[in-house]
């Protein structure tokens, strides 16, 4: 494992970053290049208007809204179960992870707590959504840099995780499995044993990625020192998840969020991975370790599922008492939070969706200034955003 600590490497990175900043001052009339909305490097329909001087980007401004579905408006005319079915379409790669914070916010307002078995199942599926999401990133980063083979390994091994999610919830991409007060159904027989096999496949996939990409000198040259984000700038823009941990900030809501009662991360011993550099290589490395960490979390949880019911006492027609609640969880892409305001009716009065990729992307105008065109693609790939998450 390539642990970068020596000062020489950090000095090299700092020099690279400052050199890129200086030569952007030359105000020549450049060429405007539209990257997107129909472009292989944007995960969905994002358009970046970049003003180029030769190959160097003078300034880049992402244009969004091609996939704006207006979730916050829709949520105001839907009942709580309907919103859960709707809301797992925001980050469609790790979609169970979208439902959990909304349900936790509603449970907080209704003063209801899910029984332990339901919390265990909820945490297991939450981590499997993270594995499914980040496995695709590990493969996709390769294809953005030109290596076509890793992404096929990613899809091949991710398929087993999706099959397990489908076996338990019924839907591969949109499980709609979380309910206020617990989960919809229990795990089918033999599920735990099959899930363990799919986790072994993911672990061997991580080792393959380590050999194929991390060890590859070309990959290292393309990603080290590219898109360096210092910790304080990351915080000012609200970056979250692996992006901020790769800049050296040791912060993970799964461990540091006391108010959360819905997930059982305190029953499992696991480690939060950080990296001092803050460049694209660090973001890739942190996410690779996080996938391995999630595999071990799911393994421990599978071994200790308590007996008991999977649904608390909740009335059939759910009317959430008036009040406001904000719950945020550590989703695969970063922090996703729901600010639910309820006036006691069948539907929420207002749902503010704090999505991770929206804030992660808000740093790109600052970050892409002075980079080369191929580096724009590397940085976008390493920030790892999903368009549904940005446009909501």
């Amino acid at each position: 494992m390539t642990e970068v600590t020596d000062r020489r490497q950090l000095a090299y990175i700092a020099a690279q970053a400052s050199e890129a900043r200086i030569n952007v001052e030359l105000e020549a009339e450049g060429m405007t290049l539209n990257i997107g909305p129909q472009h292989p490097a944007t995960h969905g329909t994002l358009r970046i208007v970049a003003r180029l001087d030769g190959e160097q980007v003078m300034d880049a401004e992402p244009m969004m809204g091609y996939m704006h579905r207006g979730y916050e408006k829709l949520a105001e005319v839907r009942t709580y179960p309907q919103v859960t079915a709707l809301v797992n379409r925001i980050d469609w790669l790790g979609s169970f992870a979208n439902e959990v914070p909304f349900i936790l916010a509603a449970e907080q307002l209704m003063e209801v707590e899910a029984p332990p078995r339901a919390q265990w199942i909820r945490t297991i599926l939450f981590e499997m959504a993270r594995i499914a999401n980040l496995t695709l990133f590990l493969g996709d980063m390769g294809v953005q840099l030109g290596a076509v083979t890793p992404v096929f390994y990613a899809f091949r091994d991710r398929e087993h995780v999706l099959n397990q999610i489908e076996a338990a919830t019924g839907g591969r991409f949109h499980p709609n499995f979380d309910r206020i007060g617990g989960v919809k159904d229990d795990l089918p027989a033999g599920w735990i044993q099959q899930t363990r096999q799919s986790l072994d496949k993911i672990r061997s996939f991580c080792d393959q990625m380590e050999d194929l990409l991390l060890g590859n000198a070309i990959f290292e040259q393309r990603t080290r020192g590219v898109g360096v984000i210092p910790a304080d700038v990351a915080q000012a823009y609200g970056l979250s998840g692996a992006n901020i941990r790769a800049s050296g900030v040791d912060w993970d809501l799964r461990r540091d969020n006391p108010t959360e009662t819905g997930l059982v991360y305190d029953q499992v011993d696991w480690k939060v991975w950080t990296h001092p550099d803050g460049d694209s290589f660090a973001r890739y490395w942190v996410r690779l370790q996080e996938v391995r960490e999630s595999c071990s979390i799911v393994d421990q949880l599978l071994g200790s599922i308590p007996k008991g019911p999977i649904m608390a006492k909740v009335p059939r027609i759910i009317k959430v008492p008036a009040g406001e609640a904000y719950v945020a969880t550590e989703n695969p892409l970063g922090i996703m939070g729901y600010y639910v305001v309820s006036k006691g009716g069948l539907e929420p009065f207002r749902v503010k969706i704090r999505s991770a990729s929206f804030s992660n992307m808000s740093i790109t105008p600052w970050l892409l200034k002075g980079t080369y065109v191929p580096d724009v693609i590397t940085i976008l790939a390493s920030l790892y955003f999903i368009l549904g998450d940005i446009d909501r």
Partner: protein, 232 residues
């Protein structure tokens, strides 16, 4: 409605958030209009509209709340369109309040939100401190649809404010470029306002409205009715 002042919550006094509330009031003085503390959960503080940018810089520089979580707005007006999913049977089940009488409709305010509010539109924002592991939600009324910007303290607020501006129509003074973020440039109106209709729900009639018709009389309906004698 939970009582706004935190003092009389019996046993659970949340020291860290209480301390935070005191330090905020100590720094901002009378700019803090009201506050609400849900012990162990979240702290809400409502500040004067004019003190909105200053609150941001105080939190970031003096109290170390450097992580900018999010910024948005809320329209407290009751939606005139209702759920557009109401059927007579719902009224019997008591799911839908009968029509509020006209006289009672007073100007909508954020009064029943946490930490109160006087104007229809309110701006919300949340900042977090990673070392103290605490967050605070700031609120401010926006009576004349215009408020100061946060972009000079939190550059990340630029996109959030652009979204709030195009969705609610709130103007952020001093914002570098209030271009529309999501909506096409020639879009009229502010979609997230409650009085903006959700057209999908109005064009298509609600399939649940079709009620089961009463039993057809045993007259010349023909085959569709089974006359009682034959049935036994």
């Amino acid at each position: 409605m939970p009582s706004p002042d935190p003092e009389n919550t019996e046993v659970e006094v949340d020291e860290p958030r209480q301390g935070l509330l005191d330090s905020i009031t100590q720094h901002l003085g009378d700019a803090v209009v009201a506050s609400h503390l849900a012990p162990g959960r979240e702290l809400w503080v409502r500040v004067e509209t004019s003190a909105w940018p200053e609150a941001a810089s105080v939190l970031q520089r003096r109290l170390g709340y450097r992580f900018f979580d999010w910024l948005s707005a809320i329209d407290w007006m009751e939606s005139p369109y209702g759920r557009s999913m109401d059927a007579e049977v719902d009224k019997e089940l008591g799911l839908v309040e009968t029509e509020a009488s006209e006289a009672e409709t007073v100007a909508p305010t954020g009064a029943d939100g946490y930490a109160g509010g006087e104007s229809r539109m309110q701006v919300l924002a949340r900042v977090h401190s990673i070392d103290a592991q605490l967050g605070v939600t700031l609120k401010a009324d926006v009576p004349d649809m215009s408020i100061g910007t946060w972009t000079n303290t939190f550059p990340g607020a630029e996109w959030h404010e652009r979204e709030a501006c195009e969705m609610f129509g709130i103007n952020f003074e001093g914002h570098p470029g209030l271009r529309p973020l999501y909506l096409p440039s020639d879009f009229q109106g502010n979609p997230m306002r409650k009085d903006y209709p959700l057209l999908a729900r109005i064009i298509k009639p609600w399939p649940g409205i079709v009620d089961v018709e009463p039993m057809p009389e045993a007259s010349d309906q023909g085959a569709s009715t089974t006359n009682p004698e034959a049935a036994s």
